[in-house]
């Protein structure tokens, strides 16, 4: 397993504001590595440093063995970047967009044409090859943006919130394509604030919060470690809360959190403890599997980060 991205204590400061506060991580070739975090956590800034468009304030960052400070052009030649905001060329057709983009990499024309045909077929856009960008749905535009990022057959595909703003159908179609690429051995780096997306696609996840990495692992590991197996949500009126919280506080292997009108009970251990046996008095009781969202909210808090 070879290391393809290596970050050591990388820092990004804007004046007195520290956007990325000394993070370290390592991405292995062939894996899908996810940055999960709320808005403003430093995900996009980290991506911008990796893609050599934002200079580091401090730290060491190598991509495919090259220092981002020394070899930005060669690194960018090995990357495929799918930005958060759509920046396709609205005045050009689908095919022209890909052709123009391929030219930035100095790729031979014939190779680009071949890849365009393959890509359009893979992303189900072949029949729209000559369509104008404005006539595409947002899902199609997103798929085209991913296809564009693949024009140079990159070693690493970097995706900044690849499905933000898409409806569920469009999102699942993008996911399906990304899973296919992963199965083809493309290393992927993605940022997201969709838990489902991270759980779905990423082999390994780091949770970023206020410019720092606060947890790292597979989706299952993170859930196990920070949210346990099961969660009970108790919707309780204000007056009845205190006795319930008191009763739960004494239990072992259980972690309790009170948020507004809901009490969350995280069942951490698996020593046969059955939350159903509690027979709690509440307006509404929900038993469910713990998930990445629980981890996320427990670690980064429930208040608005902005």
């Amino acid at each position: 397993m070879s290391e393809i991205i290596r970050a050591r204590d990388i820092v990004k400061r804007y004046g007195t504001f520290t956007a990325v506060d000394g993070i370290s991580f390592s991405v292995t070739a062939g894996e899908c590595f996810g940055f999960l975090g709320p808005n403003g956590a430093g995900k996009t800034t980290t991506i911008r440093m990796i893609t050599c468009v934002s200079p580091l304030t401090a730290g060491e960052l190598t991509v495919d063995g090259m220092d981002v400070r020394q070899e930005p052009r060669r690194i960018k030649a090995a990357l495929g970047v799918v930005p958060q905001d759509n920046n396709l060329d609205p005045d050009l057709s689908v095919r022209q967009n890909l052709r123009v983009y391929g030219r930035y990499f100095d790729l031979p024309r014939r190779l680009v044409e071949e890849r365009i045909d393959e890509s359009l077929a893979l992303f189900q856009l072949s029949d729209r090859a000559n369509a104008r960008i404005a006539s595409l749905s947002s899902g199609m535009q997103r798929r085209l943006t991913v296809a564009r990022g693949l024009i140079n057959a990159p070693k690493i595909l970097v995706l900044d919130e690849p499905t933000t703003g898409l409806d569920p159908q469009a999102r699942h179609l993008v996911w399906q394509k990304l899973r296919y690429l992963r199965s083809q051995g493309v290393t992927m780096l993605l940022t997201t604030h969709y838990m489902e997306e991270a759980a779905h696609l990423c082999d390994r996840i780091v949770i970023v919060y206020q410019g720092k990495i606060i947890a790292e692992g597979t989706s299952a590991e993170l859930v196990e470690r920070f949210a346990g197996r099961q969660v009970v949500e108790l919707h309780v009126g204000e007056g009845d809360r205190a006795p319930i919280v008191e009763r739960l506080a004494g239990l072992e292997g259980v972690s309790v959190e009170e948020v507004e009108d809901i009490i969350y009970v995280y069942v951490l251990s698996e020593n046969g403890f059955d939350p159903a046996g509690l027979k709690l008095e509440a307006t509404r009781v929900v038993y469910r599997q713990a998930n990445l969202e629980d981890v996320f909210l427990r670690l980064t808090g429930r208040g608005l980060a902005e």
Partner: protein
């Protein structure tokens, strides 16, 4: 310590390469897509100017040199309408690509550097000026307003003011906070130049202080050079005008590079 200083210098040195041509090609492709609507202004405006001022107003004007008025203004138009083309391209055009379409972001994600993008913008602005110059040259030649075969040199010469106006305009764009704030540049700089750079009357007609101001206007020098080329009365002073424009073009190219990078690399 030494290593850090070196590294910092490496970041600050502009990284311009031939990939700037890729940016130029992108603009050309978009232009070829939109040429019908892009071409209408530069096509119509010079004709209207020649007709209204040359034919209409010209009938009332008698020049000391005995030249007809339309003959007098024709070479000036070779300078000022292309000035508009280059400035508009690197003003509204570049700003729109940078802020609205995020085209620059898309390009710098590839092996093209931000300095290549800036250079490509300027080359394209100059190309737009060249297209406009060629068109006006054909029109005024067909109109019989050109006296010397030296006029053919207008085309290679037009590269210099083209790059100059594109660089000046992009330098302003690099500090423009909104697309409407570009109006200041056009209202306070480009439009006065259009009227005062010696296209419609000899600069010598102005009071002395205004002549001094006119000397500082880049368009004045382009007008002088074109006037000399189309009439065949080329002198050494025109070399001075060319050098003046080369120096200003180079200075503003460097300003555009650094100022744009300061805006975009964060």
């Amino acid at each position: 310590m030494n290593a850090i200083a070196l590294r910092r210098r490496a970041i600050i040195r502009p990284d311009v390469s031939l990939r700037a041509l890729r940016v130029w090609q992108r603009h050309r492709d978009v232009y070829l897509q939109l040429w019908k609507s892009e071409l209408i202004w530069p096509l119509v405006e010079p004709l209207i100017t020649l007709f209204a001022l040359g034919v209409g107003l010209g009938g009332l004007v008698e020049l000391e040199s005995g030249q007809s008025y339309i003959e007098f203004i024709a070479p000036g138009l070779l300078a000022v309408w292309p000035m508009w083309s280059a400035s508009a391209e690197c003003g509204w055009g570049s700003f729109f690509r940078m802020e609205n379409q995020r085209t620059f972001d898309a390009i710098v994600a590839t092996p093209v550097s931000i300095e290549d993008v800036i250079t490509g913008e300027i080359l394209w602005g100059a190309t737009r000026a060249l297209i406009s110059t060629a068109y006006i040259l054909v029109v005024i030649s067909a109109w019989g307003l050109v006296d010397s075969p030296l006029a053919l040199l207008v085309l290679p010469a037009a590269v210099i003011p083209g790059i100059m106006f594109a660089s000046i305009s992009l330098s302003y764009t690099s500090v423009a906070w909104s697309i409407s704030s570009l109006n200041y540049f056009f209202a306070v700089f480009i439009t006065p130049m259009f009227w005062l750079a010696g296209v419609f009357f000899p600069v010598e007609r102005l009071p002395e202080w205004a002549q001094t101001v006119a000397w500082w206007l880049p368009a004045t020098h382009a007008v002088k050079v074109y006037r000399a080329l189309t009439s065949g009365e080329l002198g050494w002073s025109h070399l001075g005008d060319v050098v003046w424009m080369v120096v200003v073009a180079a200075a503003f190219y460097v300003i555009a590079l650094y100022s744009m990078r300061r805006r975009l690399v964060k």
